[in-house]
Amino acid sequence: MIELKGVDFHYGGENGTGDGVDGIDLTIADGECVVLCGRSGCGKTTLTRLINGLIPHFYEGELIGEVMIGEHNVSKSALSETSKIVGSVFQNPKSQFFNIDTTGELVFGCENTGLPRDEIGRRLDRTVRDLKLTPLLNRNIFELSGGEKQQIACGSVYAAEPQVYVLDEPSSNLDKKAINRIHDIFARMKANGNTIVISEHRIHYLMDIADRFIYLDDGIITGEYTADEMRAMSDETLAEMGLRCTDIRNIPANMQNDSFQNAAPALDVIDLSCSRGNSRILDIDRILLPENSIVAVVGDNGCGKSTLAEVLCGLSPSDGSVALGGTFLSDKQRQQQCYMVMQDVNRQLFSDSVLEEVMLHASVSKEEAEQTLADLGLADFADRHPASLSGGQKQRTAIAAALCAGKDIILYDEPTSGLDRTGMQRFGELLNSTRSKVRLSFIITHDPELILHCCTHVLHMERGRVTAFYPINAEGAQRIRHYFRSKSSDTTSKVREKQSQIGKILEYAGKERSKVYWAAFLMMIGAAASVLPYGIVGVLVRKILRGGTVTLAASAPLIGAVLLCEILYAVFYMLGLRVSHHAAFATLENIRCKLQEKLEQQPLGSVMARSKGELKKLFSDDIESIEMLLAHMIPEGAANLFVPAIALLLLFYTDWQLALLTLLTAGIGLSVSGRMYSAGMDRMGSYFAASKRMNSAIVEYVNGMEVVRVFNRDGAAGEKYEKAITDYRDLALNWYRVCWPWMALYGSVFSSIVLYSLPFGILLMLLGQLEISNYILALILSFGIGPLLLHCMNFVGSIPQVSFKIQSLEKALDEVPVKTGDKEITGDHSITFENVRFSYRDNEVIKGVSFRAEQGKTTALVGHSGSGKSTLAKLLVHYYDVSEGHIRIGNTDLCDTSLEQLNAHIAYVSQEVFLFNKSIMENIRAGRQNASDDEVIAAAKKAECHDFIMKLPKGYDTPAGLAGNMLSGGQKQRIAFARAILKDAPIIILDEATTFVDEENERKMRRAMEQITAGKTVIVIAHKLSSVRHADQIILLDQGAIAAAGTHEELTANSDQYRQLWAMSEETQNWKLKEARI
């Protein structure tokens, strides 16, 4: 039990933060979770410091009264004693760890209390297990994101197993993903029966954990509320109290009603990409931000928001074009027009007074500067030192400096982290008032309240790409609220890549790696053999020059050796190539298998979201290009480098001065090719994006050719096609333009190494330092290694290409797989949807759907297109994971069972029927592999397929490719029916074809359907209401939610919406029939 009795505290020193607290009487029971809330400076943090003993042992001041935790007097005992029962987590993730590696930090508290090693090990295991920290173990803390650091901080106190946790604004610097994680951690702490005291501005994430909210105002406790009382407070009440929202769903949106329809673009970004080390951080096709807008940039930490901001300001090098106010500018020019208000505003205050700070390098007079300060409410502080101000005031000083310096574009990096509601609103108003003065405000933020309060647009980023850009209107507000409530994927940041590209490829090679090495070895011998003849010739020449007579007979062995070397060269080179190709193709197989495995685990939905062209490129072209690297680059490159190195050493042996000169020229050549490498790397991103676009466009064009011809829509599709191709051409040319000068240069440098050393050699000879015979030997050696080096450099040029391909491959492999388990499906075959929510990207398409489809009954899903019918079906077959809620078959959750199990229970007949390129017989047999021909034919008869199949040229043996063109949509679907009949799964999902043109076909269809559905649990996605009139249950969906449910009769009686839909459906039906008759 924590007890504060009549506690007064005031900070010593003149510029303390906040004024302390007065007359605090507070009792916190064991196992209780108490949230301290209130405005900035209300004394929340002081209260936490009183409990963890930092007051009075670290922060000086006047203390009256005492703080007791059970029998332990915090104010009197030493800090190290208190630390055994109180665990503290602080606001700033980057300043609260003491170690550099995460594991060391996790056990730090335990080590300090002197626990034995075994005990520490046990606690570490428990902490890692309970808080799910495994991916963060043994990492460099400086590589972690703020959220991850905060998790480690929580883990560190958790391992010390204190009775009480004191958390001082733990969420202020975190994104929503990290907030979700620490929420789970706090819940865990509470479940363990520990007392938790949290001081916090953001309270929405604590609503389900907190038992009691204590409201402080000006150092005095003025209110205590339960979670329910807090929830019941209206937004106005909260605003009055200076508190942030209790539920993100209730944040009011301050919609900007100006239209940006005709606004000129303030910022125009085309084909922007940015890489750091081996990984690509940004890959953006286009961003267009309108003039005078306030754009919020959202996305998880590490998605590239900050990098984008830095690139836009011209701070980080990038590739692509950025235009401000319509003119494309260089990095340097952008630096002059942009200003970033950093999260650590301390870093950007340089002067000794606020006024001075604003005037520094400003383009305005003193009066104007003072006016700006007054506008921002800083007039009273003009003479104060910026470092003595509060966080919010420092921030405003930085903004004032930006305004006075006449900056066009101001970027803010998480400006409201750690601000209370008043501070946040004030900042919002500030943004609005400066809106007309600056072209663009660009805000990186994790604060939904700020976005809804004052932003005009939202830019959503994911993994370095822009996934959405939308204005804040009614729909946008809904979207952003949803985004902040939805869970992000559970991935943690990657361990920073230290591996080189070549190392990575070798890793893929796996077992084949030794073969690659072997190949390299063989090729080295080959290459050495190719150089040796030059040496031999050198020796011969030397002999002649030294005055010896060379007869043919005497030199015959040498000439023989030259021949032998040539033969050896050919043999070893061939051998090497053979081995390396062997290794390469085996590796390709590995990679393809791995890719396929990964693709199978991934949500089918996201696989299908990729264009066919992209997938094809991934599977065949990109992987193919790795072959080049494995089979040629690595072994040949190694050989081509190794031999010149040996030759160089030989050269040193002959004459070190000349060798040094040669080395120098080679060095220049290398640095040049290094330039080329980086230049090439920069362009590579756009180059590949364009080639991907082109491929997709071509595939789309070819696929759509038929439609295009028929409907004569050549224009739009053709244009897209053309544009993709021109883009590709431009980029390819661009790339070559960058690289060609370098290619030419290094080509010439290398082939003329000899030329460079020629004059020096002569000089050395004149000085008597060099013997002519040595010189000639050196020359000949140079001739020998030149081509090898040149060869090698060619490979260096293509490394960026290959490495980029590897990256895109890895990205493809990187999607989060759907959750599966290995439980059997038990219970009956009913289907239960329980409060299911699902979002595609940040768009919620299913909003809390609950219903139950009984075993053996038919349930129809109806609704307008886009109401979520098909999505529900896709969720049921586990193409995607649900975001929230559960789908059960019998008693088993879909996430607990394997895809194979599920597949055995469900037959899904989709609208689009895919016919494999085999005979019709085999196509039907796809429903059940071991079915006999007779069974297949029986199924076909039931599905009313038999007749039309027999009319095909070869009956059941007709290849589907040939038959495909002769079959109508309805007939194809009946083949799918036959498959489903053959499969005989207990659950059938029918996605009804949209158009049946003739009645004959429809009748057959209906009969086939009756065949399949007899005795099964059936879900029909109906586009035509008449066909599901007799369903046991009809569920009417509207915009992702259930609008009404019941039988046809009930719905006709009760639901207007259903009646409307019914009428509409009938109408189109008639219209279609009529049309068909004409």
Partner: protein, 203 residues
Amino acid sequence: MAKKEIAAAGASSKKLRTKELIYAGAFGALYIVLMLVIVLGTSMIPVLYLLAPITVGLVCGTVYLLCVLKVKKFGAALILGVLFALCACSNAWFSFVGAIAAALLAELVIKLGKYKSKMMYLLSFVAFNLNMACPYMMLSFARDSFLKRSVEYYGQEYADGIAKLAPTWIFFPILGFAVIGGILGALLANALIKKHFAKAGVV
């Protein structure tokens, strides 16, 4: 943000407490990073390399003074000196000892001012900055053994060449530079502390 410990708990004790040890270590990191940046940044130009005692003194004086003013006890300068010696002078024992001696001298100067006199604090940096001359001690003290080794390796002629490049007296101007750097650094630190840190209430 003035955060001082309460008078009762330990200001009266002259021993350094954990908190102050942490400050000293952190300032040590600052000192060393700044020194390395300057030395590596200027080592392209040999003359600037020899002038490093001045440039480093100028920049690092403020760091040193903030450190000793924040702790105001025996040991702050010494710890800083030890950290410096560990990072910059561990190539030769006499440099190491020299650097520590410089730090002790600085402690002595501060003690003479009874841990209160601002003048003495400033003066102590002049003593402290003598450590910047220590890495160069090798040029004088180890010169002989270095030359002997060169004789061993390359012969007398070569050793004479080296001897000409680095005369014996080179150490004394460097010592002078260290004093100049100390004075300049103390002056700049005084100005900056008055202008910024005192005004903002940090020390």
